[in-house]
Amino acid sequence: MRLRRWLADRWVMGVALLVLGYLTLPILVVAGLSFNRPTSRLSYDFNEFTLDNWARPCATADMCDAVVRSMEIGLIATVVSTVLGTLMAFALVRHGFRGRSGINGLIFLPMATPELVMGTSLLALFVAAGVPQGFWTIVIAHVMFCVSFVVVTVKARLAGMDRRLEEAAMDLYASEWQTFRRITLPLVLPGIVAAALLAFSLSFDDFIITNFNAGTTVTFPMYVWGAAQRGIPPQVNVIGTAMFVIALLLVGVSSLRGRRTRRAALAVIATPAGKP
């Protein structure tokens, strides 16, 4: 009887841990394969331990070119979509205006549309308009699908913010601009940083939309896709593992920073007025 109670209490956690295992398993395999010396290019089985792949990650030069290109595209797409999306989020949360539900629909639709349809429709547009496909058409496409995610992320942060902090600043004679710079922005910043990280990872990882709009330009996911037919060099797993580690570190740092900016904003409110 006691065992049954204990089991009833714990089985949910047990199932959850199994599912987490299922989610984590491929990452462990990617990390393991990054230390593998494969028997042939088309073999996916573990053969022999080696540090070569980590020592010379750019042994296949075209792969590293693709990684660099993905980073360039990701950075540009992140900056543009974060700026556009943050402005939109402010308009949606802070202002009442006509046509708001239409705008909400315009932001929601790209998230509900299959990537395949977005990819093919952009291809149809670029071809019909005679725009040559390449680096910049990829950037345009990435900004397009990142904007919605930025809006949603920043909106959530803005909506959860305590308006009284801003009102307090205004009561203490901070100007509109001072309030924005010293209170609003620091408080929203963690949301904006999270949105930017999300945009970068969406852009860096996108395959489907990129595939239709890349022309002959090769990004990292497109390199992997092409290599899957010719044989994957083990360095691909090095990049995969390195990305994972870097992203984990970034998440750690940004969550720490988030806590610090929140504390800083509270400190500003607490200090006497008139001394910006």
């Binding site: 599912v19 491929p26 990452i27 705008i103 093919t120 071809v127 990882d205 395959f207 489907i208 995969g240």
Partner: protein, 304 residues
Amino acid sequence: MTALAHLGGASPTTPAAPASDRRRRHRLLPYLLLLPGAAWLLVFFALPLLQLAAASLYDPAGSLSTGYAMTWAVGNYPDALQAYWPQFVRSFLYSAIALVLALLMGYPLAYAIAQKAGRWKNLLLVAVVAPMFTSFLVRTLAWKTILSDNGALVGLLRDVHLLGPDGRLLATPVAVVLGLTYNFLPFLVLPLYASLERLDPRLLEAASDLYASPLRAFGRVTLPLSMPGLIAGTLLFFIPATGDYINAELLGTPSEYMIGNVIDSAFLVRLDYPQGAALSFLLMAAILAIVFVYLRRAGTEEVL
């Protein structure tokens, strides 16, 4: 002239001017903030959809090099469907099975993190999102290793006679469905977690005080309260899974191909834009129809 000046509002010399200027600025501000983003979405999201609709009605006899004539060839739709209905059916079948599997795995996971994890909550959440930090394609290729014919998993399944001596997982529907489940599971778990996190455990205590069995309490309290997250998660899982072709390509064979593989090859290999466009629109229409019926049945307006 003076009349016009009056219509234009207060003249700059009147003392009331700064306030009304500021009010006008405030009325314009949201539109200024929205303009760049909305314009981007209109030009690069909405306009392309119109262009795709047009392309789906082009003369199918044309080609990319000679150009396409607009002939309002509505026949492209039934033709495309007739040629590729098995891939269509397969797309929806595979994602439906994957969705059921994902619900069976994702609900307990979301529930455990939201209600049982205590101080481990954030760590477990990161563990759910963490797989997405590694490239989608690289992770999917890792499944090739896990499911490989001489891998440990297949060996184990053969030993316990769940698989025949020549049985395999890779290049079968099982591998493709497993890949779909794996790749889109986090999209189901996160919204589900968000709504389960808001569930007040005291409601469950109350239910058990009133002699509800755990199962009944789940059905009458937990499940209805998690509905918004469940609906959002289901859609976030189902829509990309149906349009996916990476899993079918990397983990399956052409006999597991989904409609995405066909659309990809129509646009990029066969360069048959009218057919590819018609197939894209059929996919979107089918998904929209399913989503619409589903939302009607689920009877809620609160999505995302």
